[in-house]
């Protein structure tokens, strides 16, 4: 699978802190890639670097066969990128319908309502009045309505019922099969995303592991590495500390 997008020795810094220390990540085309890692590992920074939300202090972002490091966020979005941030993903003062419409004139609105029928009765409500989970659905729906070719989601399951999250994962996998490139950041690898093509584990601003989902699951079981993904139980973590 050729990569659709890639980060090459990307560095991101926030003031005195460097969040990404020159990482290389490749995202295969027409597949789902999962970024794992604990809080502060750099998952969100990697997604933001790909979307152009943060300025790079070093390195390049490749997408659609060219260097897009110089493009601003809205220019990348107009070329088919969509990012669902982990927090504050909806316009609170706009209605749900307007939120969906804003994403490139809302061509995919019907699809979104098919996937999330929960949104249909909420269309005229202001997004700010909805519950956290409903807002998350609106945020994801807005991104899907734009029919992006490169879809980035930062912890999309947050606040969603397990059944809805599973439905979303199935939709992401189906979209990938149809040619869309999807990148999901998560704390741990969800079972329903086992069909993903690639998994990266980030740790302290670097890439600690790259491989397939099966390998990643095995990695999570190893006590010594459970510290990387945060997937292990408390016993595992104590073991890791004792080993270190």
């Amino acid at each position: 699978m050729p990569p659709a997008a890639a980060l090459l020795s990307v560095r991101v810094r926030y003031g005195p802190l460097e969040a990404l220390h020159g990482i290389d990540l490749a995202f295969p085309a027409g597949a789902v890639t999962v970024l794992l890692g604990r809080n502060g590992a750099g998952r969100t920074s990697a997604l933001n670097a790909l979307a152009g939300v943060v300025r790079l202090s070093g390195g390049r972002v490749l997408w659609q066969g060219r260097d897009v490091s110089g493009l601003s966020v809205h220019q990348r979005v107009r070329r088919g990128l969509a990012l669902v941030p982990a927090e504050r993903g909806v316009f609170g003062s706009l209605t749900v319908a307007e939120n969906l419409e804003l994403a490139r004139s809302g061509r995919g609105r019907e699809e979104v309502l098919e996937l999330f029928p929960e949104l249909a009765p909420l269309l005229t409500r202001r997004a700010g009045e909805l519950s956290g989970g409903q807002q998350q659905l609106v945020a994801i729906g807005g991104a899907l309505a734009a029919r992006p070719t490169l879809l980035l989601l930062d912890e999309p399951e947050r606040g969603l019922a397990p059944a809805v999250a599973a439905r979303l994962h199935a939709h992401l996998l189906a979209g990938a099969a149809a040619g869309r490139t999807v990148v999901v950041a998560a704390q741990g690898l969800p079972r329903t995303l086992a069909g993903a093509a690639a998994v990266y584990v980030l740790h302290r601003g670097g890439v600690a592991f790259a491989g397939e989902p099966g390998e990643a699951a095995a990695l999570a079981d190893l006590a010594a590495f459970s510290d990387l993904t945060g997937a292990g139980g408390s016993a595992g973590r104590t073991g890791a500390r004792a080993a270190g």
Partner: protein, 682 residues
């Protein structure tokens, strides 16, 4: 006892209430002229704020610039009217707005600057445009601003007349109001606009070019500013200070609308205009008359004060940040800003101190007019020092310090003339001292509102208080006539008086230096940098705010009194609120927390104007203030902010200067070092 003087064809007050008589209608129609201009100004401010999140504080200056340009084209260059109007309104004004957005406001937006810094940049635009107008067209008032519709009034039934340009303004309000409402509600651009206002970052993620939306907002804001300028100019003499201030007063309209609602802004503007016209009928007998007249001619100032006070701590309800209002550099980087003991800083402080001292001693070699201009430097330095205390140290925005300076000057003059009941005419020294002591508690006028307000809300209140002082105190007949202001005989020579001023300035600098050290200095810094944090640390923030404003008022009064004594007269124009804006911007660009910087700023302001042409100093300050987006912390911070560091421009961390540690701190550091050394060993 209120009575209504019978004017031509009027009825007594009782009849007035029963049925509208012809004069009432005529006055209402006349009031519509100013009212509709104010309503237009309100529409511009509200739309610009909605699209950009910034209150266009320079709107008055933009209006003035466009009005001057139109007069220049039509009267001086003899262009035909309509092409000139079209060029001014459709080309120059929007282009100016976009230019301001690109050069001034976008860098601030990128840096995530707070409302206070954005306001300083706006002030920079304000003084820059005024300075440019003074340079281009001179400070003298010009008559004959062209009126596009001019001509005879339109006859209405019942023998009422209505000016054609008023009709045009009302049509413009209707068209603009409906167009804005329709655009925001039903078009894609309106949706994108609302998205940008809601969350700029998320709007970019939705593919919205937020910069373009802002540029459109600025273009519209400047376009309406130009409209207001062209509408108002025919009714006044055009001068660089009057029109901007008049338009700034109409900010009351936008504040009443909470910077959101266009219908409220239009209604308030028209209502105030009509009320102002109708108030001319009120003619109370005796001493109330001057007051009523002052209220009538300054109704917009009263309204600005009232709306700014009533609007409460959050004007728009959007300001959620608790960050420091100004990007003041970390401790130890101001130009010798008093009591800093950083290793490299001491040297720079001494250098700046020497430069200041040389600058202040130079005038002893001057004579004649040069020396007389130099007399104003220490006096102005004291006024600027008051801004340093209130804004630089305390973090409270105060645009009203010119008012306190004026009170000091006026108080000295009144006391010396024996015009204060119960007191004989005092000699200069005691009069000055008493005036300072009497003005200091008046600092509560701005200190009290500051307890609950920050940023934009506080700026508006302090500006309104300063403007109200200027209009209701300094410009009243009792203040402008028959005042005696004379120096004591042993200081009648300019050189001797200058020496006395220097001594007072030195005392002021020492007092300010004492403010910035020890427990009090730390409490002030904590309050400036993070108010909730200071509260949590046990600082009495409300008391400290009042204290800062009282000290600021005393310093400003001292400076103002000296200004009056230097010129041997009380001059209300020296304490114009617009001058206060210029002074505030000057202090911020030089470095708000630098006491010596205030002295340098005073020398710069007086020296530039005396050495070249009036207006150059305003242009210089304006240029620096508009660059505040690229110059956080002002000139005083320049040596450190340009220090080469890691990658990443202004966000990169400048290493903190080594501070002097307390004994407990030294013990803690030794313990940490020892522990780190232990951990490094295998």
């Amino acid at each position: 006892m209120l009575t209504v003087l019978p004017g031509p064809g009027t009825a007594p007050l009782a009849v007035l209430a029963a049925a509208p008589d012809p004069l009432t209608v005529d006055l209402a129609l006349a009031g519509l002229t100013v009212g509709s201009a104010a309503a237009l100004s309100g529409i511009g401010l509200v739309v610009c704020h909605r699209a950009t999140g910034v209150l266009n504080i320079a709107q008055g200056a933009q209006a003035m610039a466009v009005a001057y340009l139109l007069r220049d084209l039509v009267v001086v260059r003899h262009w035909p009217m309509w092409p000139a109007v079209a060029l001014c309104l459709l080309v120059v004004a929007p282009a100016l707005g976009v230019l301001l957005d690109v050069l001034v406001y976008r860098p601030l937006q990128r840096r995530g600057a707070g409302p206070a810094e954005t306001m300083v940049a706006g002030l920079g635009v304000f003084v820059l445009l005024i300075g440019a107008a003074v340079l281009l067209w001179g400070a003298a008032p010009l008559a004959g601003a062209p009126s596009p519709f001019g001509g005879a009034p339109i006859r209405l039934p019942g023998r009422h007349g209505l000016r054609p340009d008023t009709v045009a303004q009302l049509v413009a309000i209707l068209v603009l109001g409906l167009a804005v409402a329709a655009t925001t509600r039903w078009t894609g651009f309106g949706l994108r606009l609302r998205a940008v206002v809601d969350d700029r970052r998320l709007a970019a993620l939705s593919g919205v070019d937020a910069d373009r939306v802002s540029a459109a907002g600025w273009a519209f804001g400047t376009f309406t500013a130009g409209l207001v300028g062209i509408a108002l100019a025919p009714y006044l003499l055009l001068d660089p200070y009057g029109l901007p201030l008049l338009v700034m007063e109409t900010m009351a309209v936008a504040v009443a609308a909470r910077l959101r609602s266009i219908p409220v802004a239009v209604a308030t503007g028209l209502g105030l205009g009509i009320a102002q016209a109708e108030l001319t009928r009120l003619r109370p007998a005796g001493q109330l008359l001057p007051l009523v007249e002052a209220v009538q001619s300054n109704l917009f100032v009263v309204a600005l004060l009232a709306t700014a006070l009533l609007a409460g701590p959050r004007i728009t309800g959007e300001e959620r940040t608790v960050s420091a209002p100004l990007a003041v550099r970390p401790l130890g980087v101001g130009i010798g800003s008093g009591g800093r003991d950083g290793a490299g800083d001491g040297g720079r402080g001494r250098l700046a101190g020497t430069v200041c001292l040389v600058l202040l001693l130079l005038p002893f070699g001057f004579r004649g007019n040069d020396l007389r201009s130099a007399l104003l430097v220490p006096a102005l330095a004291l006024v600027l020092l008051s801004v340093v205390v209130v804004t630089g140290y305390g973090g409270q925005i105060s645009l009203g310090q010119a008012g306190y300076a004026g009170l000091g000057s006026l108080g000295t003059a009144l006391l010396m003339s024996g015009r204060v009941p119960g007191l004989p005419a005092l000699p200069a020294g005691p009069a000055l001292l008493l005036a300072v002591l009497a003005t200091a508690p008046l600092g509560l006028l701005t200190g009290w509102p500051a307890i609950r307000r920050r940023g934009l809300a506080l700026a508006l209140v302090t500006f309104a208080v300063g403007t109200a002082m200027s209009r209701f105190v300094f410009e009243q007949p009792y203040a402008t006539t028959g005042l005696l202001l004379e120096r004591p005989s042993f200081l009648s020579g300019d050189r001797a008086f200058y020496l006395a001023e220097l001594l007072l300035l030195g005392a002021g600098l020492l007092a300010v230096r004492a403010l910035h050290r020890g427990r009090l200095g730390r409490a002030l810094t904590a309050m400036r940098d993070h108010e909730p944090g200071a509260v949590a640390a046990g600082v009495d923030v409300p008391g400290l705010k009042l204290f800062a404003f009282v000290v600021g008022a005393a310093l400003a009064a001292l400076g103002g009194g000296l200004t009056g004594l230097a010129g041997r007269a009380f001059d209300a124009a020296s304490f114009d609120p617009v001058r206060g804006l210029l002074w505030f911007a000057a202090v911020v660009v030089v470095g708000a927390d630098s006491a010596l910087g205030a002295v340098l700023a005073a020398a710069l302001l007086i020296g530039l104007d005396a050495g070249t042409v009036a207006g150059v100093s305003a242009v210089a300050i304006g240029v620096l203030a508009t660059a505040i987006g690229r110059l956080p912390g002002g000139l005083a911070a320049l040596p450190t902010s340009r220090r080469p560091g890691g990658a990443g421009g202004p966000a990169s961390a400048a290493p903190l200067p080594p501070g002097r540690l307390s004994p407990a701190g030294l013990r803690a550091r030794a313990a940490i070092t020892a522990r780190l050394a232990r951990e490094r060993q295998p």
